[in-house]
């Protein structure tokens, strides 16, 4: 299946490295030392039960949440590191530049509701990447065509279905010419019949070699797209393995137990 398409790519340097990531919310430790890395062109899925910290990992990577301890390095630039007891965070500019290279697709789409589809996809390009309007529009057209929504350019987000909104959100991320896209449960908020459309757009991106880190509950999707699977449990990565192992017979017992639960 499509999942195999990436495997011909040789081992390359990690574009994302996380070591010993900790995050505490109001006294509750959510992440208790996460280690994770992602190579260029790699598609990794984060799975695990709710509350295991999957989304928090993603949100720490682009600093929507501030890590309490640990190291995060993206594209060779350290974003936070340990300095004795304290965690040091890179200057705001550095963090912003890193975010622009690894935009995020959210569970609830989070499109700008006061802007049209076209404007949504142009926004980051114009404001952050300082592209000219014409350049941004051309790129936005290209991206919208790739998610199959060019004909909805002048619509406002609320005039679209959830699945269409999520595809626009993917186009918005794609327009940034990213080195990595973070997906936070991209299909969890969708009606079942709309899930396919979004998943196939993500699959198309995987075929083009886009690096992706995907938090998801959809095991069939994981199986069809992931190269690596990270299984989160209790604020740590309990297991990281190639997708074939995870779904194979020699899978870790805890993962098997989890699979049985999620597959009903």
């Amino acid at each position: 299946m499509t999942g195999q398409s990436g495997e011909h790519r040789a081992e390359s340097a990690p574009i994302l490295t996380i070591r010993g990531l900790h995050k505490v919310f109001r006294g509750n430790p959510i992440l208790k030392g996460v280690d994770l890395s992602l190579r260029e062109g790699e598609i990794a899925c984060l799975i695990g039960s709710s509350g295991a910290g999957k989304s928090t990992i993603l949100r720490c990577i682009n600093f929507l949440e501030r890590p309490d301890a640990g190291e995060i390095t993206v594209f060779g630039t350290p974003l936070c590191w340990q300095a004795g007891e304290c965690v040091q965070i890179a200057p705001e500019r550095t963090v912003q530049a890193a975010r622009a290279r690894m935009p995020m697709v959210f569970q609830h789409f989070n499109l700008f509701s006061h802007r049209t589809v076209m404007e949504n996809v142009m926004e980051g390009q114009v404001v952050v990447l300082r592209r000219s309007k014409a350049e941004a529009r051309a790129r936005a057209r290209d991206c919208l065509a790739r998610v199959g929504l060019l004909d909805r350019s002048d619509f406002y987000p609320r005039q679209l279905s959830g699945g269409q909104q999520q595809r626009v959100a993917i186009a918005r991320a794609l327009a940034m010419s990213p080195s990595l896209i973070l997906f936070d449960e991209p299909t969890s908020a969708l009606d079942p019949e709309l899930v396919q459309g979004v998943q196939s757009v993500i699959r198309d991106l995987s075929a083009e070699g886009m690096s992706m880190l995907i938090v998801t509950h959809e095991m069939r999707f994981v199986r069809s797209i992931a190269q690596t699977v990270h299984f989160c449990e209790g604020g740590r990565i309990a297991e990281s393995a190639p997708v074939s192992e995870i779904f194979g017979s020699d899978a870790h017992e805890r993962i098997r137990a989890f699979m049985e639960v999620t597959h009903g």
Binding site: R99, R101, N110, E123, Y156, A169, M176
Partner: protein
């Protein structure tokens, strides 16, 4: 039967309109300054630091819990004693602005907080700076949400301007009292004043409505109860 509108009042109409012009100046300047100050206070009151939040909270509370007329009298008559001398017009502006800003800071704060936090996160995750997030995502939506309330405050302000006649600003009401001291015709003069206030308020309400409509994204216009031919809008 009282003799309504005998010849003397229309004769004084230009003088009253001159006052009305000052009322409009006062309202427009105070509104502009009050919005800027109110927005700054709103952002300040959402700051992380208590050192910023608490003093602003205190000032807003004091301003809201004392009558505007007392504030105006303090600014005009008491401030000079500590060396701050403002002429009547600018003392009036200062009082009106301060008062309006206190109320608007609440309006803006609510409107800013009402903007979907997911959109804020989306903007941040695209790499926007904090200022860009405000300028591109939060302010446009918060402004639209607060516009109807803002309109209400503007009309209230227009009428509150009559209070600055107490500190001898030559606005509409003060001109009316001058006319009356000359003609002794309070009935016709005050009716005339009421009509002028009504026209100004009513016209402002229409203008605000128009602005509101213009700023609303076309997909939401139907929710505002003004008939619009949707097909024409869509065709553009």
């Amino acid at each position: 039967m009282y003799n309504f509108f005998f010849h003397e009042v229309p004769e004084h109409l230009p003088f009253l309109l001159q006052g009305a012009l000052v009322t409009i100046e006062l309202s427009l300047i105070s509104m502009a300054l009050g919005m800027v100050l109110g927005f700054c206070v709103a952002v300040g009151r959402m700051a992380a630091s208590r050192l910023v939040r608490w003093p602003l909270d205190a000032v807003v509370e004091v301003v809201r819990d004392t009558p505007l007329i007392v504030q105006l009298l303090l600014i005009y008559f008491a401030l000079p004693e500590i060396g701050i001398v403002l002429n009547a017009f600018w003392a009036g502006i200062a009082g009106l602005t301060l008062n309006l800003a206190a109320y608007l800071s609440e309006v803006f704060r609510a409107a800013i907080l009402a903007v979907d936090s997911g959109q804020r996160q989306a903007a941040v995750s695209l790499g926007m700076s904090r200022i860009a997030v405000y300028r591109r995502v939060i302010i446009p939506q918060a402004a639209l949400a607060s516009l109807p309330t803002l309109g209400g405050y503007f009309i209230a302000l227009l009428k509150d301007c009559s209070l600055v006649s107490f500190i001898s600003v030559n606005e509409l009401l003060r001109h009316a009292t001058i006319v009356i001291s000359d003609t002794f015709d309070s009935m016709n003069t005050y009716i005339m004043v009421a009509i002028i206030y009504f026209i100004m308020s009513f016209a402002s309400a229409r203008v605000i409505r128009y602005i509101e409509l213009r700023l609303t994204p076309s997909d939401r216009r139907q929710t505002i109860s003004v008939p619009l031919t949707m097909d024409k809008e869509g065709a553009r």
